[in-house]
Each structure stands twice: as C-alpha cells, then as structure tokens.
Symmetry: C2
Subunit: 297 residues, 2 copies
C-alpha cells in the first residue's frame, strides 16, 4: 500500500477527542486548548539515504532541514511556531552529534522555537532517523486548511518548483512563514505546503475540498535546471499553494511585499473532483503519476 493510501486506511481507527478541531490529514493537527489562539501540532522526520545523503549533505544541513520542514507545515496553517521535541536514532560520532544539535539549536533560535525535550537512542542497523514534533499557535481567524478551497478560487503559489534535490534547495530553503502570515486570514483560508510535489499536494487540497483544478502550466516558475515534469512531480519545494477569491487577486498582486515570487497558476473548479487538468485538456495527474512514483516514500 502507498503511504497516502495507508494513511487514509488508518485514520478512521484514531478516535479524536472533542478538543481536536482538525485531526490527521492536514499539515498540522489543530487543538482547542481553551486559549484565544488554537494550538497547532505536527511531526516530521528525515531518514539518512532518503531525505539527505549521509556522506555528502552534512549533518548540520540535515538538522536545519528537519526543523524547517516542520516550520513549513506550521506556515501552511497560517501559524507561528513555538515549541519542539526532537528524537535521534542513529550511531553518530560525538563530533557529528554535537554538530547536529548545535545546528538544530541555532536554527531553532533563529525562528523563536524552544526545543524543550527529546530522546536519543542507538540505531540497530546503522540507520539514521531523526524526528521533530512542532507545536505552534494560530489566530482563529487566520486558520488555513486544505479542505476550504472554493470553486472559482484562483490557485496561487509562492516561489519556484522542481530540481530541488540536485540544486540542494531541499536543504537550503527558507520556510514561507512570513509570506503565510501575510496571506492567512486575509487573502486566503485554504493553503498547503509543497513537500510531496506540486501536483500531489494540490491533489490533497482537491480531495479534501472536493474540487478539481485547471492549471496553466506555463505560469509555473521552474527552478534552475528543472523541467515541468520535475516541477509538478518531484517535491521538497517547501513552497505554498493557496486559494484566493477572484475579486481579491488584483489587491494581492499589488500589495505583495516580498521578493519571493508569486504566481497565479490556475483555478479550482467543481468539475473532475480530485483531478488537475492543464488548459489543453490533459489530465496532469495521469501524466505525472506514471513518471514520478519513485519519489513516493
């Protein structure tokens, strides 16, 4: 079973208490802990040989990536990160251990995250697995979900796509926290970050919003060295996809204050639920799914 299918199968087993506003299936869980803001909670992991290459990427880069992947999830909900817990299961030298934790601490301080706990254990088979659980806060009016795009909304994205691995963007990216804070609750209430791939993550929005999409693929900005196929399918871009009501588009484009690229790449439709077509009528999901299955993990 693929990861996505497995997750869909198991989610119904997990009973959610009354204070869980949004359970598994979005970028973060949303918890009403009785404060003015809602709590966000997410976890992500990186494994050596899968999310970074042990002999070449540097354990400090891996540490930063581990935190930033989680920050990207918080950003996508319209939130601000606050606390984190970290685990290490690996057989690291003392020097690498210190390098990992110092890099993680420096990155956490930069983003105002308190890493307030963790656990370290050995690795049975020489594998390296690192996880980070993040907690954050979102103003109720700013909460963005995957499920709240509306028919006719325009599809916008930040940044460029494709060729993330070779270009080392997957290590060096900056999570779009500031951009998301500007957008959330004002220009959008429906957002997701791109980790699995532009088309796969748009697909998660389509599925949960019960919509389809028509994309003008010529408007998708390609990272240097990227093809359209890699931009649509490879993933690890850590950009934002978000829905904007058509009457707000001009104002958004005029007031956008960031150097980060902003692109309108299509629109949501009531037709062909769960699927994305390009403007010449090609089913992009079919076209890309064939080519990029090996990026699923």
């Amino acid at each position: 079973m693929k990861e996505h299918d497995l997750i869909k199968t198991i989610i119904p087993y997990f009973k959610q208490g009354p204070d869980i506003v949004t359970g598994p299936g979005d970028d973060c869980a949303v918890i009403d802990v009785g404060t003015e803001k809602l709590m966000l909670a997410a976890v992500d992991q990186i494994a050596g040989g899968i999310h970074y290459i042990e002999d070449c990427d540097g354990i400090d880069k891996a540490a930063a990536k581990l935190l930033k992947r989680n920050l990207s999830d918080i950003a996508a909900m319209g939130g601000v990160p606050s606390y984190a817990l970290v685990t290490v299961s690996a057989t690291l030298s003392d020097a690498d251990s210190l390098l990992f934790f110092k890099a993680l601490a420096a990155e956490a301080e930069k983003y105002g995250v308190s890493i307030c706990g963790g656990d370290i254990c050995a690795s049975a088979k020489g594998a390296s697995v690192f996880t980070l659980s993040i907690l954050g806060w979102v103003e109720k009016a700013k909460l963005c979900l995957r499920s709240t795009a509306k028919p006719g909304d325009l599809i916008y994205v930040t940044g460029c796509f494709g060729n993330s691995f070779k270009s080392r963007h997957h290590l060096n990216f900056i999570p779009r926290l500031e951009e998301a804070q500007f957008l959330a609750g004002n220009f959008t209430h429906a957002m997701i970050d791109v980790s699995d791939g532009l088309l796969a993550d748009l697909g998660h929005m389509l599925e949960l919003s019960k919509l389809g999409a028509i994309l003008d693929t010529s408007r998708i900005r390609l990272r240097a060295g990227a093809t359209l196929e890699s931009a649509l399918g490879e993933g690890e871009d850590y950009e934002l996809i978000f829905a904007v009501a058509p009457h707000r588009a001009a104002e958004l484009e005029k007031s956008w204050p960031f150097p980060t690229e902003l692109s309108r790449i299509g629109s949501f439709s009531e037709e062909f639920q769960g699927l994305a077509y390009d403007s010449s009528g090609i089913n992009l999901c079919e076209k890309i799914r064939g080519g990029f299955d090996h990026f699923d993990s």
Copy 2:
C-alpha cells in the same frame, strides 16, 4: 560519549522561551500556555532490535509499548495524557502496518489519548524506528519534578523491579497513571519513572535535587526471576520512584488504595550528593555501573 553525558552537553545550546517552565532534563517539558493547567510534552521512541525483538515480540505489542512508555513519563510529572503524534520509519508489510496502527489506536482510546497526527516514511537500511510525542496536562499544585526531593524525604517505589526483558514486563506493563494521580501534589512533589533502571533514574533525581540516597536494598521487591543486580540496573520497569516527607509516610501506607505494591526503600540525604549507598556503606552506583553498562543505549 554516553547518552546521558551527551544530553548534559547539548542542553545548554537550546534556548528556552519564557513560557517553558521546565525544559529538557525531566520526564516531560512543562509549558505554561496560559491555561489553568500546565501543558506537559515528551517524546520517546522504540527501535527494532533495541526496545523490542522484531521476530518475536509482535508489532502490536511494540505499538502499545511505544504509547505506554510516554504515558509513564506523563504519570511521573503528576499529569494526565491528552494528545499524541506518531512517526514510523520502517519497511513494514501492509498487514504489519495495519496491526501496528490498530493496536496503537486501541491503546490510545483506552487511555483517552487523541492521536491527532503523524508521519510515515520508508527505512533506508531495514531498520524500524517508531516515535511518539505525547502532550498532557497537569494541575499546577500537582506538578512533580526530579529536582524537588528534600533531605530526609523517604524514598518510595511502586511495584517490582528487574528481569523486565525476559519476563516481557517491558511490553506488558501498565503505566502508573492512577497511582501517580493519587500521589501527586498530596504525598509527593518529586517523582520519576524507571526506564533506564532503578539506580540510574534515582541517580537523575539525586543529581537534580542535589542529594544522596541511602537504600535498604532488602526492601526492593524483585520481579519473578530477578536478582538484586538486575532490579537495580536493568531498567524498563516503568514504576515510579517518589519522595515522601517522613510525617506523611504512615498516612500514605494506610490510605494506599491500589493492588500495586508500595515499598519504602530508603531516604534522601544531604551527604554524598548524586550517589546511592546501601545500609552497610557500599556505593551502589559503583557496584552496578560496572555490571550494567551494556544496558545504556
């Protein structure tokens, strides 16, 4: 570097924000999120070949252990568990994946825990690493720390010790949530759970409370098949060690309402900080550390 030494080295790098009441170094982090109760946060992991044996223990037992280890940490702070996030990095069959998640879901429901998010990824080297981050709540007056034992306090423990692996206690234990709720804020404000080993975990209390201990080792109840050495050193007992003021001891013993064994095994002293002696003057830390180093991980 040993895990404990590594942790002591890295903790100062992690800057804690003003809402972190207790950061790394206790069973849970304690966060003041602005509610009447304090939030507790902890993470623990199990690795195949280290915390369970892949071909014999059953992935469902491993799933339950993963949750219960974390519940034991919440118990030790005087808290009640609420929410959790889970990660899996493993190459499991579909059947084993379902078995793992169903068992985890059933166990979580039993303890009123909402597993509200998670992440699944492949394993690069056939290793199996599972983590669970737990969040819970503790009434401010009930908060128990490792650092708050006082000279002259009596040392009590719940349950039996030793031979946890062979007896499969390490899989079948029941976290001492009810016992801890009865004790916390009433009979004790200083508590820890025993995962590393009775002597090692008592040692964590001694170090942080800046005290020593004198133990009457004849009062330590042994699990069937256990020697005193395994009871002191092996770990994975998931029992509680806690400090009780001498004038409250009689009332505690009289009012203890649980079938779980309750044993007074010694007292805290201002002498020989960080060390535990038995009543005949033998330094137990030296005696056991020699023999049980291979249980560190």
